[in-house]
Symmetry: C2
Subunit: 355 residues, 2 copies
Amino acid sequence: MPAFPTSVVAALPSLVPFVAPEALEKQLGLKFRLRLGANESTFGPSPHAVTAMAQAASHVQNYGDPQNIELRDAIAHFHGMPAEQIAVGVGIDGLLVQFCQAYLDPSRVVVTSLGGYATFDYAAVGTGAQVLRVPYRDDKPDLEGIVKAAVDSRASVVYVANPDNPSGWRSDSSEISKFAAQLPPDCLLLLDEAYAEFGEPETPLAGDRVVRFRTFSKAYGMAGLRLGYAICGGDQAAIIDRIRPHFEVSSIAQSAGIAALSDQEHVRSVVRAAQDGIESIRKIALSHGYRTLPSRTNFVLIDVSTADSASALLNRFLANAVFVRKPSRPPLDRCVRITTSTAAELELLADLWPK
Amino acid sequence: MPAFPTSVVAALPSLVPFVAPEALEKQLGLKFRLRLGANESTFGPSPHAVTAMAQAASHVQNYGDPQNIELRDAIAHFHGMPAEQIAVGVGIDGLLVQFCQAYLDPSRVVVTSLGGYATFDYAAVGTGAQVLRVPYRDDKPDLEGIVKAAVDSRASVVYVANPDNPSGWRSDSSEISKFAAQLPPDCLLLLDEAYAEFGEPETPLAGDRVVRFRTFSKAYGMAGLRLGYAICGGDQAAIIDRIRPHFEVSSIAQSAGIAALSDQEHVRSVVRAAQDGIESIRKIALSHGYRTLPSRTNFVLIDVSTADSASALLNRFLANAVFVRKPSRPPLDRCVRITTSTAAELELLADLWPK
């Protein structure tokens, strides 16, 4: 008789939230010429971070600091927060799994968007909690609908991405503040700000039941490194410290993160180039008769009108060796999502755009 | 009113399993001259792995493969196992947290050694399961006592490290096979083989309820990289795939792991040097009137007779800028644990050994 997983884990589906481009290449029997499907940064990391990675690699035989002291100090200084309120993990994905484990169990309810960030959904489902999914409204997260669902269900956790993936929409800080104030008083708001750097700086949302997530995968250009952090309004970092694997973040990531934070000029140049790229994609799409949705991120949705035509366009992109993705749920499943890139890559995109 | 963690997490203690050498340096106000407390490899990684890390870092803007396909293929080939039975994670520590999450909950019982690997204890406690700890017997894990505790408690999971940390003891494969056969039929055996490379190769334990854990942190010399794997006797890798963060292992670690596996001559040279180093430490200890315990690992226990005298010796090592550790529980708390190292470092150890 085999050993059995817990009742919660036994009931989970076997699925992978994202099929990787490497796996798609195997399926399709081709090598992608453009990799514009995962919102990676073609602009790469800061040269300071590259140097820091090489230096850290030269003493990789030693464990990194399990408390991430220097990195958390650097992040805390950057945001003007106490280091005790910074949690560090292997990307926002890793942190979301830990926050769900700490704040959700089969007796609890969590509210997210239907068709929102798939990895949050995966992390929430993994705890056995009841997951309520509020459909997008006007092509953006339905903040009013999420509040109503959270209040009605006495939700323990609410997840919203701002700017949002996959829509690209960014609510302004007054809307987010109003939204947060309407949530139940004992509800934790997980605010995923993976794409924050791509919009104008705004007053960050504060409050002891708000956790904001940031990543080095997008504007900082180090998705392969696995590094993200949570800015905790309350005692959440200390709670996560009770369950996280302490030697989780590599010494290379710790060093690269500190160096990357110190080079904000690199971030600004990436953001400018990303915005130029989105404008280029908008023009290319228009030349093919498609409008694009507004975006404050490093990607943009091409509106293809129907889910079927969007699937067809997606498949033609893939056949042309262009890796892009599409949202899976209405109303955004009528769109194809393309990551912004360098001028050279977007010229190639124009060439490879399906006729 | 703040948001509350789950009842399981709310009940957990706030403690860090290991105080890092960096934190100890701050406490003591000194910089360590020798870092021999964390069983790291002074011999460093394979040059092949160094090259692979640099190559992977040059395209760190891209996500690594979330399914770790090439790395799992390489590991599977190395061990003569199907890739479906290999799970990859951020070191054995990260995998132990995931296996505990998948196979333990507050209704279940797990058996380990009292004073065994602290991070397993931490991971098990984190699930809310009942943790039974069987004391060491004759300075090694009490396999008979663990079987009895597992049978009596109908344990779901048993954890044993072989070779064991902190004792250094290695049971031979016939003992481990007999032990595994006596466990309850629906009990999962987690066999931590972090130090396996330091002993002679033996017939590995098989069976669909046995999971063996390996790491790139010890003989492979890449503790800072965070990479380990599980060789699953049954369907456990597929179960873990339901709950792990899929983009967890960095692209740098994936590439370095493949390169490191391909250089077994490096591993053999590290193992030879480690054994020479243990012999040197044994001689230095003897010259100070201490005997050492047998070790098939990259560290050795110095028998200081009593816990108080061991604490005193530990503190004198630390005051001399030599980072070493000691076990915290009887009977091994009468010992100080020293990691093997290069001949040059062990000459310095002889000089800095407290008079």
